[in-house]
């Protein structure tokens, strides 16, 4: 397989993976809404999958589980926004959705090592930028 063909295959696979992931998450949410429609409390995480990156960033402002001051949250939000789209998505999939590295890799049609590297690189970037901006480590 020539490099261009390989690249096209990777792109198609990543695009198909995102398509599948969105469809599966929507199906899961519909299934859980139907199953638990009489219950007040849905199982943890069942509504999180249709949220966008912006929703997550605003969630950080509104009801973060981290015990941070509001000023720190703004710093953290600004820092997260400096990351690339891929890095933001990997962090969200790993931290908010609790996906494993091989599951994230599957979404992008890459191997688990790529997901792991991207995640830790992003975390290191966030940490460095956050400290640089004056936040506490």
């Amino acid at each position: 397989m020539c490099p261009k063909q390989k690249s096209d295959t990777d792109l198609l696979r990543a695009s198909f993976s995102k398509y599948v992931y969105t469809a599966l998450c929507n199906k899961r949410n519909r299934y859980l809404s139907k199953k638990y429609r009489h219950d007040r409390e849905l199982p943890a995480g069942c509504n999180e999958y249709e949220m966008t990156i912006d929703d997550y960033l605003s969630l950080l402002n509104s009801k973060s589980k981290l015990e941070l001051q509001l000023a720190d949250l703004y710093e953290l939000k600004a820092t997260l926004e400096t990351l690339s789209q891929l890095e933001q998505e990997v962090i969200i999939l790993k931290i908010f959705h609790g996906l494993k590295f091989h599951e994230i890799a599957c979404l992008y049609g890459k191997n688990a090592k790529m997901a792991k590297n991207t995640y830790y690189r992003a975390i290191a970037k966030v940490r460095a930028l956050y400290i640089e901006r004056g936040g506490k480590a």
Binding site: D8, L12, V20, L24, R28, Y31, H102, C106
Partner: protein
């Protein structure tokens, strides 16, 4: 086999290609089918059906 061909073959009903795609996305489906750490088998089945529909509907 390149991915486009795999999808096209799966669409026309090649069982090997379908099972290859199912294996590829099994981990993702199992992860999403977990509710409070326990796999909901009905949901898992629904998700596999959704994957099959995605194979048929994905615009190539």
């Amino acid at each position: 086999m390149i991915f486009r061909n795999l999808l096209l073959e799966a669409r026309v009903g090649d069982p090997d290609c379908i099972s290859q795609l199912f294996e590829m996305y099994r981990a993702m489906i199992t992860g999403l089918a977990k509710i409070d750490g326990i796999i909901d088998e009905d949901l898992e089945q629904e998700l596999f059906i959704t994957l099959y529909q995605c194979i048929e509907k994905f615009p190539l």
